[in-house]
Amino acid sequence: MDAEAHIRAGAETETPWRYRLDELAWRDLVDGLKQSHLPFVGVWCDGVDVHALFLPHGVQPLAATLALEDGRYPALSPARAVSSLYERMIFDLYGAEAMWATDVRPLVDHEVWSNTTPLAASPGPAGGHKGMIAFQPSDAWAAETVGVMTGIGPATGARETPLHTALVLDGETITRAETLSGYAHRGLTQRWKNSRVDDACRLSGRVVAGCSAAHQVAFCQAVEAACGETIGHEVAQLRVVLLELERCLQHLYTLGGLAREAGALLVSSRCMWFREQILTETAPVIGSRLLMDHCVPGGVNLRAATEIGTLCTRIAELGEEIYPTLVELWQGYAGLAGRMAGVGVVNSAVLEQVGLDGPVARAGGGDCDCRRDLRMYDGLWRFTAGRHDGSVEDRAAVLLDEIGESLRMLTELGPRLGLTAGGRIDLTYPDGEGVGMAEGPWGTILYWVRLQNGRVDQVFMRDPSASALLAYEAALPGQAVADIGLIRASLGVNAAALDG
């Protein structure tokens, strides 16, 4: 039996695509996963059960549920590397132990919280650690390490989210790298629990700035799926405008940072200037710069929805005026491409291993983009192939291409939208669960939401940042320590999204 069949052989639940397995069947599933390519999304716990989510066909979810036995469950990390981050999070939050897990170090709880296992039925006592937390190396690190140990973060003075990267150096070359996270853990899982649906939506917009629209679109779709509602075509297209604008803005931000790291200050300020030009147009019409809180359950909330069509046309004009010269500048700027060439390669083998998608995967030869399967992109999205050798240079080129593609979609949307009024339908919230997804600037963002008694009962969120962290750790050995900023920024490693 293949992995998918193992899941479908389980007992049906109230949710048509979720099946309940017993422990033996779950173990068979883990074995089956080792031989299969079934796309894995993540695993989470609700205190009683653990749930693992997969996407066998495009956007169709398939989930397996297992009751915890004595607070334990068989780990999925032996079959899916990225599961280890979810398993460590589950242990920190609930104290539920993943048996045969590949990594059992704490992820976000470093014994400084006011409760250990804060989400367990009876939370543990306060952590006893005082002062700064220390890096705890993995077994592999401890076994192999020779060289000078050093580290970067969490407070570097740069405008990045807090993360510590522990390094072993041989001269200027990194020989080993591992991360210490949890600095930005705000307890989202707990904050979402039993929250009002609108409040939960606002929280999802604050998981990680720069991807707020994508998070909120995915959250809202999950809620709408749980309600059995589909929003109208026009409102869906307004959401596409938010998503594609966000991609342009975020990619320009990333490129600006990359160019600065590479010493091309002129190119950097040109990227950021283009971004500000777009923002000057969009912020008054949409209502904010970072696109937070414009996608709401049942619709959209825009300051001037009827002007969105005109706005798209205006952005298209700006794009025509500025984008080609930016591309020319980027490609022709002496030393810029050379500075990034061959740096921080993430090839298809690593991508496959860590399960990373988005522009990083596309720049490494991966063909993945959930816009392909999302109905709201019908007739808009098209496949484009770009550079694919997986270096920082390739990733930057892909980001630049994607800005062009997003501008093209906005150009097409302008006349279609006309004087669309936007708005929002009133949802009543029945008990149930749903899944929603969107292609964010760094890859697929997925929400699973369970509603109960008219409120949000529980949320699971998948963001590419977990896989990006593993790719970052894998890409660093062999690289010059001076390139670490370039590599981090080009992979979309973000502690705010990762720590939750």
């Binding site: 949890g182 600095y183 604050r206």
Partner: protein
Amino acid sequence: MGLIRAVFDAAFRQGGTRLKPVGPRWPLLLFHVDTGGCGGCGMELEALGAGAYDVQGAGFGFVQSPRAADVLLITGSLTRTMAPVLEAAWQAMPTPKGVICVGNCAIDGGFFPENYTTMGGLDRKVRIDLRIPGCPPTPLQVLEGLCSLFGKRPEGETSADHGAGSSTSS
């Protein structure tokens, strides 16, 4: 937390005296620490520093070491994990020194008030020299806030006649 309060209070300047002479030759140097928000306030600071706004011209600069800084610029709700890091940065700074909180998170916790992992914002925990509210505040609002330290407005447009600047997102 008690420790932090003691450290901050003991070192704080009193009564709003100037940090040091300011002007083009004496830029006020800021050390930014993200203590655990969504990163949005940090992004707006980056936009502020990246050239479209004349933050250098207004007399401010970002530094990469607390030892070179005049002011600790904090964004994000303070997590228990970041608290000792923030404290170490503060202690590494020369005196006189000050604290600026940018964004609702840093001020009162914003969307992330106190729970098992966060201590919420710095309000009522330490003396804050300048609060710039918003979620996130726009770069222009941040710049105006910074300039208010010197009792002046940034040159050129102000947020009142700037469509983007007058909006907060919630």
